[in-house]
Symmetry: C2
Subunit: 427 residues, 2 copies
C-alpha cells in the first residue's frame, strides 16, 4: 500500500481495484494450481496452530473484557476441533471438481457458427461476516476454487484471529504463484470501510453477508452491489390426515430437536383437523420428552389439554418467529390448502415438509409451497450443501435470483457465451 | 380497489399484495391455459387497433405539446407495424416451450431419498420502463409464459397507450380464467409510486428496469429488491495481426454500421501494431464510405493521414463512450494482451470480438475478455435472445448474477428443490 493512500475509503478502493485485477488472472488459472494453493493453506494452518491459538486468545480476552455473552465467545473461539474442521474442509474443497470452464449449453446458429455457454467465475465477491473466524478460511477457499477473487470483512471481535488466518492465505497464494490479492482481508473493522465497500459496484460483482438478520438487512439496504441474502429459516411441518403417525413423530422430533439453533430446524407444526385428536398427543408427548415447549392455537390447546399435555397459547407473532430453540408452535388446519396458505404467508421460503401417504396431496404441497426446499416424508434438517451433493456450502440462499437454497461452488459462478465462426455478419 | 385505499403508497402496496397472491396461482397454471391467454391477447390487440391508435394519438399529441424530440416521439408511436410486431411476438411466445416445471438435476441421497431441482417462476417481477408502449405487452407476455406475476410501471409519456394495452391484457386473463392481477399496470406515473414499489421486497422478487442509463442507475440505487440491470454496450473489435483483412473489414463494418443505435453495435476498434499500416486503411475506408466518423489515437491517426483518410483525435473519454451513432474510436495495440486489458478496462462487459486466423490467440481472447459474449470471427450484432436460440428476449443483462447476456424465458425463472422420501431423518 503506497503512503499516499491514507484514508480508509482510498484504502478500500485500492483493495477492490487489486481484487478486480487478481480476478482476471484467477479466472483462467488451472484447477491444479488452485488446488495446490488450497492444500498448501491446509498445511500452513496445521503448522501454525499455536500461533493461531495465541492470536485467538487475544480476541477472546478482549471479548470477555467487552462483556460478550457465552454464546458469542463460543462462536469466536478457534479451538483444535475447529482448526481441524477448517483443514479438513480445505482438503475436501481441493478434491471437488472445478466448476469453471464447464460447457453448459451449445447452440448452432442457422448461419453456421456456434454459441457455447460456459461457466465462469462471478469476478470479485465481498464476504461480510460476524464473529466466527473460520469463515475467513472457508469463504476464501470456496471463492478461490470457483475462480473468484474475494474481499473479506470480518467482525471486530475476531480481528486478530482473522488477520492471522488471512496472512496464511496470502502465504499459500504467493508460494503457489497465484496473485496474492486474490484474497484480501480488509485491515480495519471501521464501519466506514464497509460503507465504502458496499458502493464499489464497478469492481465488486457480488456481496454475501454471513450473519444475523441485522447485518443482512444493513448490507442489502446499503449496497449498490447485488447481494445474495441468507436470511433465517421459519420451517413448517404439516402432518396431513393421511400421515403415518410413527413417521410423523419421528420427522417432527428430528426437525425440531436434532439441532434446534440452525436455520433448517422446524419451528411450526400444522396438523390436519381430521386427525388432530389421534396424532397430536403422540407427537406432542415425544416433543415434550425432548424438552420442547409447546405453543398451541386454541384448537390444538384443547386437544393437548384433554390429553393432559402442558402447552402455552401461541400468538400471531409466533407463526413467523424463528425460535432457534426447543420451542414449537402448533396449529390445526382444515386441509393441505390451508397448510400451504399458512406456509406461504408466515414462512421464510426456506424448508417445509409434509408428512402424508397420499401422493396427490403431497404433489399439491410440493408444487404449491413457495420455498427453496419442499419435503415429502423427509426431515427438514437435510437442507444443506453437503447433503444435497454439492460437496461444500457457502450458505443457504433465501433469494430467488441466481441461487436458491444451498449454495456450493457452481452457485459461486456466472457464465459467458463464446461465439466462434468464420466471418459471419448479421444480414 | 376499496375506497379506504386512498394514497398512492397504499395503492401500490395493494397491487404488490395482489400480485403476490396471483403469482402463487400462476406458478402452477398449465402451459395450455397460459398460451390460451397469450393468444387471446393477440386477438384482442388485432380487434382493437383503431382504439389503441386513438389512445396513442392522445399520448403523441401531449408529447408534441411537451416538446418531445423526434426520436422520443418515434419511440412512443404505436403504428400498424409495431402493433403487428406485438401480435406476432405474442404468437411466437405462445409457441415456445414452457420453462416451468423442467427438471434440472436429480441427486440420490445415500439415505435413499431423492432431491430433484425443478425450474419454477421467480414470483413477482416489476418492470420499470420508459416511453415504448409495446414493452407493456412484450413484458407482460414473457412474465406470464414464465409463470411470473408482473407489475408494470411505464413512462408518463405513454400513459394512455399503456392503459389501453393493459386493459386488453386484463381482459385476456379474465376471459381465460387466469387471475386478473397476474399482470397489473401501476395506474399512475407519479414518482412516489415507483419509490414505494422499489421497497416492497417482501412481495416483489425482482425488478427489471428497461430504459436509459439514468433510469437503471436510479432504480438500482433505490431498490431493496434485487435488480437485473441492462446497461449499455461499449463493444470493441480487435483486428489481430493474423486477421484475414477482408473478413475484418466485413465484420467491423457490420458491427458498426448495421444498426448503430443498439447496444451490440461496435464502438471501439483495436488494430494490432504489426498490421496497422496494411489493414487499417482498407477497413477505415470501408467505414468512411458508410459515413462513419473516425476518431483515432495518435498512432492510428498517423497511419490514416498517410493513407489520406480523414480522422479526429480520440480522447481518453472516447474509449468508454457508447456513441450509438456512426462514430468509431480507433487505437493501435501491441498484442492480444493489450487488447484484452483495454477491453476489460474500458468496455462494459457486453460483447467484444477478435478477428484472427490464429486459434491460440483467439482462445486467449475468448477466455481472457470478461464480457457476457465474446466473438471469434463473428459480428457483435448477434448478441440477442432470438439469435441465441432463446426464442424471445426480455433484455440483455449486463449483470453477472442470475442471468448474463440475452435473457429469455428460462432466465425469468428460479428453481426449487423437491425432496421425496420414506420417513428419513438426519442421523
Amino acid at each position: 500500500m503506497s503512503t499516499e493512500v491514507t484514508d480508509i475509503a482510498s484504502q478500500v478502493k485500492q483493495i477492490a481495484l487489486d481484487a478486480r485485477a487478481a480476478s482476471l488472472t484467477l479466472a483462467n488459472v488451472s484447477s491444479e494450481l488452485k488446488n495446490k494453493a488450497i492444500l498448501r493453506l491446509a498445511e500452513l494452518i496445521e503448522e501454525n496452530v499455536p500461533a493461531l491459538e495465541q492470536e485467538n486468545a487475544k480476541d477472546l480476552a478482549a471479548g470477555k473484557e467487552a462483556g460478550l455473552t457465552g454464546a458469542m465467545l463460543n462462536r469466536l473461539e478457534l479451538n483444535d476441533k475447529r482448526i481441524s474442521g477448517m483443514v479438513e474442509g480445505a482438503r475436501q474443497v481441493a478434491a471437488l471438481p472445478d466448476p469453471v470452464g464447464e460447457s453448459l449449453d451449445t447452440y448452432q446458429h442457422p448461419q453456421g457458427f456456434t454459441i457455447e455457454k460456459v461457466r465462469v467465475p462471478i469476478g470479485v465477491i465481498g464476504i461480510i461476516y460476524e464473529s466466527r473466524p473460520n469463515v475467513t478460511v472457508d469463504c476464501a477457499i470456496l471463492c478461490l476454487k470457483s475462480g473468484n477473487a474475494s474481499i473479506l470483512r470480518g467482525g471486530k471481535e475476531a480481528f486478530h484471529t482473522n488477520t492471522a488466518l488471512a496472512k496464511l492465505v496470502s502465504q499459500a497464494l504467493s508460494e503457489t504463484g497465484l496473485p496474492e490479492k486474490a484474497v484480501q482481508l480488509i485491515p480495519t473493522t471501521d464501519r466506514a470501510a464497509m460503507n465504502t465497500l458496499l458502493k464499489l459496484n464497478e469492481q465488486i460483482q457480488c456481496i454475501i453477508p454471513r450473519g444475523g438478520e441485522g447485518l443482512i438487512r444493513f448490507v442489502s439496504e446499503n449496497s449498490t452491489i447485488p447481494v445474495i441474502k441468507h436470511y433465517d429459516g421459519i420451517c413448517t411441518l404439516f402432518v396431513d390426515k393421511a400421515a403415518d403417525v410413527a413417521m410423523a413423530e419421528s420427522i417432527v422430533v428430528n426437525s425440531k430437536t436434532h439441532y434446534p439453533s440452525v436455520c433448517n430446524a422446524g419451528e411450526n407444526l400444522l396438523v390436519h383437523r381430521d386427525v388432530v385428536e389421534f396424532h397430536l398427543p403422540q407427537i406432542a408427548r415425544a416433543l415434550a420428552a425432548k424438552g420442547v415447549t409447546l405453543k398451541a392455537d386454541s384448537e390444538a390447546a384443547t386437544v393437548l389439554e384433554n390429553a393432559g399435555i402442558d402447552c402455552e397459547p401461541a400468538t400471531e407473532e409466533d407463526w413467523s418467529t424463528e425460535y432457534l430453540d426447543l420451542i414449537i408452535s402448533i396449529k390445526v388446519v382444515a386441509d393441505v390448502d390451508e397448510a400451504m396458505a399458512f406456509i406461504n404467508k408466515y414462512g421464510s421460503s426456506h424448508s417445509d415438509a409434509i408428512i402424508t401417504e397420499e401422493a396427490e396431496t403431497a404433489t399439491a404441497f410440493l408444487n404449491g409451497v413457495d420455498s427453496s426446499t419442499v419435503y415429502w416424508n423427509v426431515s427438514t434438517r437435510f437442507t444443506d450443501g453437503f447433503e444435497f451433493g454439492l460437496g461444500a456450502e457457502i450458505g443457504i440462499s433465501t433469494d430467488r435470483l441466481h441461487a436458491r437454497g444451498p449454495m456450493g461452488l457452481r452457485e459461486l459462478c456466472s457464465y459467458k457465451y463464446k461465439v466462434v465462426g468464420k466471418g459471419q455478419i448479421k444480414p
